[in-house]
Subunit: 316 residues, 2 copies
């Protein structure tokens, strides 16, 4: 089958990738897939990975150990887990030490005609949620992981640093809490998307230092981290929602003196993401910048890698 293959930090479009066959898992025909920053980082070689790229998708089950799934339009949790280890048995299955991760760790991904996942990973997509919306379930779930980890009070002053793909989704979901939200967006088109939804933007100069109850850092850059660190109030919570290249040098004494809480945040819950899209409480489709056929996948990746680019989708 056709697929985007990563090997030795080189991405290629191949026609000869064997169609996946895992009798205990569902075979899913990909309808749409999305390119995210993690894909771009894998191509840059930040993490070692060989195989089919991609983990954001909506597809249709064509084969399954349980026939009731066949024909279902689905999205899927990207962590395939053992279900037996200490992490799995204590409600932290996304941290299963022997997990494989769709298109990221030891499991072929979704920039392909077909992929496979265990049935327990699948979520049926409501009819009212179209493909172009459902394809955002995974990153929207990642945005909701923040509220899964920490309490956002309606009275909290919340700052989001960075308004790219994930920053936009985080801003949309945080806005639903009623909190006093401001977003630092670099590009005017990012700002326009936010203001169109009534979300307030703020410039770096206007961010008051030591005044924000919660700051979410989504840039993955030391500059973004420093802005976030300066903004957070003593005993505030700094959520890190992006990975950073290499190590970062940080003054931990001030974090102790100010009793800052730093929270790393990754994958989130799919069902709430689907519920919010079904009710149109969020609209991730405004992020769609371009859409390419799988055969133009290399071009799609080139496009997605441009600075400030929003979501590039890859169709089947």
């Amino acid at each position: 089958m056709k697929a985007l293959w990563l090997e030795n930090n080189k991405i290629s479009l191949r026609d000869d990738v064997p169609q996946p066959q895992k009798p205990n898992e569902a075979l899913i025909k990909i309808r749409k897939a999305g390119i995210c920053s993690t894909d771009l980082e894998l191509v840059k070689g930040y993490y070692p990975y060989t195989g089919v790229l991609g983990h954001e998708f909506v597809g249709e089950v064509v084969e399954a150990p349980d026939a009731s799934w066949i024909g279902a339009r689905v999205v899927g949790d990207i962590n395939a887990v053992c279900g037996k280890c200490e992490a799995c048995l204590n409600g932290r299955s996304t941290h299963c030490e022997s997990r494989t991760v769709l298109g990221i760790v030891n499991r072929d991904g979704v920039f392909a005609e077909y992929t496979t996942l265990p049935l327990e990973n699948l979520h049926r997509v409501p009819d009212s949620v179209p493909d172009k919306m459902a394809v955002f379930t995974e990153p929207l779930a990642a945005a909701l992981e923040i509220q899964q980890q920490i309490q956002i009070k309606p009275t909290d002053r919340v700052l989001v640093v960075g308004a790219g793909r994930l920053g936009q989704l985080i801003s949309q979901t945080l806005a639903l809490t009623g909190c006093d939200l401001h977003v630092l967006a670099r590009h005017s088109f990012q700002q326009n998307l936010l203001t169109a939804r009534g979300i307030r933007i703020i410039s770096a100069e206007n961010i008051q230092p030591r005044k924000w109850d919660v700051v979410v850092e989504v840039t993955g850059s030391p500059d973004g981290f420093n802005i976030a660190r300066t903004a957070i109030r003593p005993r505030g919570t700094l959520v890190l929602k992006s990975t950073y290249k290499g190590d970062m040098s940080v003054n931990f004494s001030s974090i102790v003196v100010d009793e800052i809480n730093i929270v790393g945040s990754r994958c989130g819950p799919f069902e709430p993401a689907l519920r919010l899209m079904e009710k149109r409480e969020v609209d991730p489709t405004v992020l769609i910048a371009e859409e390419y056929a799988l055969g133009d996948g290399i071009l799609a990746f080139e496009k997605a890698a441009k600075s400030g680019m929003l979501k590039v989708l890859v169709g089947a």
Copy 2:
């Protein structure tokens, strides 16, 4: 009056320090004071400070705006706060932006014959708590700040990295939660103090990586931080209880992927500390290594600065 004075990173015993006079505050005659790591760091010049050193004390009120305090044996919160700012009005008065801090920030400390503090900072010491125990109220409160900030479950596997002055007090208070506690103690006399209380020690080689629910870092060294970071499980909580010299280089991507929670922790609540000492649930007096008269304060500081030294007290 006699006092230990810090100026230009040089500590000196002076006889000519004016007795403090603040009509709105209590005048307190110092009975005993303790030397802690912060005092030693101030002498090293990690933070700029000029004035009388010291913040751990027990004393007797000799003058007060409210006469009912006169004669009371007291300990005192070290942060003198405005009571009006956003932090003060929201239950975070130890983070008052205009605070002065006893012997640390713009407020003469307790290695002196007398000190002053606002009445609202004072706590009466129960008769059954002797001076040599009460003098530990401040560091014991700092230990309890951990449970003030995060939930320690009785089923949690908890690791304390470092068993010096503060590490011992933290170990004693954490042991009261019933958690599965282990302490990494470098020196045999530190180990003996712990095992004498039935607290389990562990060697660095035996610390299982990625298995501990809560890790408390009390060494203030990059090595200690790395041991703690390696030990913590995904979604675990890493409490930083010590300050670090300069910046520290840390891999934040792994903190995001593992969804680690890092919590800086500083001053804590005095009343629970006094309650635990009154009930003899903790015994900080086992930490007393040496006791000197104020006139021998320089010698006391030299002693306290020795590696692995436990608590050195300075009497009036």
